[in-house]
Symmetry: C2
Subunit: 404 residues, 2 copies
């Protein structure tokens, strides 16, 4: 926690005003005042500064007071033109790039279906750089206008330092990807765990709007875990984002095959399924990257081997999620990913396991919902991360108050 001075005070209150404008859409000063519990005078002063800076704009039309007497309110909203930011999602089979405006509306997007599992960091950086340049070019937006870039990727990411400790997309460990991209593009770049970004997206414009505490669990090629805790993205000590794949699901005593990623990720499932489905036409499908569809179709048709695999994965996920609920007590858990479907064996097993394992005292706390997130939403979350910094959340900039 930083020491307080008038500047910080103003930064805090300005952020609250910005946050109210973002969340409650076109909104009048009076309403900002009641919501933030700041005095009308202060709101007026702050909004004047924000208007001056071009971050918000008035919107005369649409006066929908119930009692239409008195001076009409002037509605304020975010100025979409105030900034452009870029969000990138890196997955092992795809790069998604979006350019958004200041409201996180997508202006342009680009999906590169490129297989980049375990690539050299330089190669990935090349691809991302090209993708970003092309995306902003498509939108006719000079790169210089882009106020910030955020990249989401699976694995263990250190947001603060901009280092990716370990990820399925890189061969190397400890990749300083943020500095590398920043050097290439001459723009501010940050990186974060992909699941954290989708958590932010869900909180801004998704299934968890306005919720201060929730989990996002994504089952994709790899597993993702995003945690919103007390209104902020949860990160471990040193800003290290935890990786759901590193959660353990086997009992002690067996040191092999214990990571959740080895049981419940798409990648792991495909490997196990490929070992089982030995028919040549199946193998063909796997080689063509269509194995997942085949697995789901077989499970749908009642193939015991496939439902068994999916059930095992679901049980493992349920086990991990029950642990997370015991720790974070989130009112909501959002599940995402192609494997998560209503009525599918994986989801059934997951829900059943959570219900069975959760202690009675925590039985009711978490509502588990599914939500289909597109790659665009993920990338929008990345954009939102940069926007949040532009809004100027002051507590992110705080250093240790006492030096040893």
């Amino acid at each position: 926690m930083k020491t307080a001075d008038p500047e910080l005070m103003r930064a805090i209150n300005r952020f609250h005003v910005m946050d109210a404008v973002r969340r409650f859409g076109p909104i009048a000063r009076v309403e900002i005042s009641t919501r933030t519990e700041l005095s009308p005078t202060t709101v007026s002063a702050i909004t004047a500064a924000l208007l001056e800076d071009g971050l918000i704009v008035p919107r005369q039309m649409g006066d929908l007071r119930d009692a239409a007497r008195g001076r009409p309110r002037v509605l304020l909203e975010l100025n979409p033109e105030a900034a452009q930011v870029v969000g990138v999602k890196l997955a092992p089979d795809r790069i998604t790039v979006v350019l958004t405006n200041f409201r996180a509306d997508v202006l342009a997007q680009l999906a590169l279906p490129i297989r980049l599992s375990r690539q050299a960091a330089a190669v990935v950086a090349d691809l991302v750089e090209d993708g970003i340049r092309q995306c902003v070019a498509d939108a006719g937006c000079p790169l210089e206008n882009v106020r910030g870039i955020c990249v989401g990727l699976p694995g263990v990411v250190e947001h603060g330092a901009g280092i990716c400790r370990q990820s399925p997309v890189f061969t190397e460990s400890d990749v300083p990807f943020a500095t590398e991209l920043s050097r290439r593009l001459q723009r501010p770049v940050s990186i974060d765990s992909d699941a954290n970004l989708v958590a932010l997206a869900e909180s801004w414009f998704g299934a968890a709007r306005g919720l201060d505490d929730f989990l996002v669990v994504s089952v994709e090629h790899s597993l993702g875990l995003g945690i919103m805790h007390k209104g902020e993205l949860f990160r471990g000590a040193g800003g290290l984002s935890p990786d759901l794949g590193d959660m353990l699901v086997r009992p002690a005593g067996r040191t092999d095959g214990t990571r959740l990623a080895d049981i419940a990720s798409e990648a792991a499932l495909l490997i196990e399924a490929q070992a089982v489905l030995t028919a040549p036409e199946d193998q063909q499908l796997f080689r063509a990257g269509r194995g997942l569809g085949r697995v789901l179709a077989l499970a749908e048709a009642g193939d015991a081997r496939m439902t068994g695999l999916l059930g095992e994965a679901g049980e493992a996920l349920g086990f991990a999620i029950a642990n997370l609920i015991a720790l974070f007590a989130p009112p909501k858990v959002i599940l995402a990913g192609a494997l998560i479907q209503e009525g599918a064996p994986l989801l059934d097993a997951l829900l059943r396991t959570v219900a069975a394992l959760l202690p009675p005292s925590l039985a009711g706390v978490a509502e588990i919902v599914t939500h289909r997130s597109t790659d665009t939403i993920w990338a929008r979350g990345a954009a939102a991360m940069t926007l949040q910094e532009l809004y100027g959340a002051p507590w992110n900039t705080t250093g240790p108050a006492l030096r040893a």
Copy 2:
């Protein structure tokens, strides 16, 4: 996060000054200024107010500057007399009460070796009330002078609401213990998970002094987990303290006996050991409450059944701790409890399991140490919790900034 006003600003900075005095005191104003990065003027003003309020006192003696030139510094320290607080630790076999001064020095303590597993809340409240009254009477301190009371107990505790959701010491669930005690004693009362309090104690005057991130795992009659995260005690959504006993250690598919508490707590170990050691003299020891010593002695002597049990418990604990390290990435993990001994089978198995299960990217982050905490230290932690509130940490008082 609360909206900022001058009052909050001052509260924040006053807290920083108090914190510096507590941590580094006796300390001169100049040094407070450099450590907090507040201007000397501001420090002077704040310390003047604190002196006025009697929270700190000057200490002329002991001028140990290296260069003894210039005006000598006036050292400031906490005024021990500024307040008295009571800390209570509730364990299934013992109630410990301490009275401390403003520096968390113990003025009087009282240990009641009472078995209170699964007692009615009213009975426990009776015992605690009597214990507190007796303890403060022993010290000749009128109860009216006690500025606050904090009770630590195992189980799932909701600190904010003062409710104990579930605990081995109560028969009931959802016990509003804080209000109940407050009504009886007419003093402010708070409750928290016992492990959180020992974490606070370790951070104030124990093995984790000044550390912003660490875990405390205590293996006692029941299991405890205290998490210091970014300088604050970690609690789940709604202020719910997680319970280590609710962590799960068995794989999905087996829904029975999966809680860590059923494998690795002293209580569970005793039950399992009692089932194995059928000799009449052993059963005698168990009934006399001396079973644990017997188990340890047998294990020491190489009894395979006992080392097996302990090893299994250690592996289960290691499994849970590895998961927690993956989530929180704490630089330090402190283990406490009678079962945790250097060279003992439980600790060996625990360390081995953590090392085996932790993914390489997290291999070096956490140093695991053991630390023997007495019941007094725990109760001191409870006192420290109240003191922290008296110091006026402003962020604890913040409500939601935006009302829906």
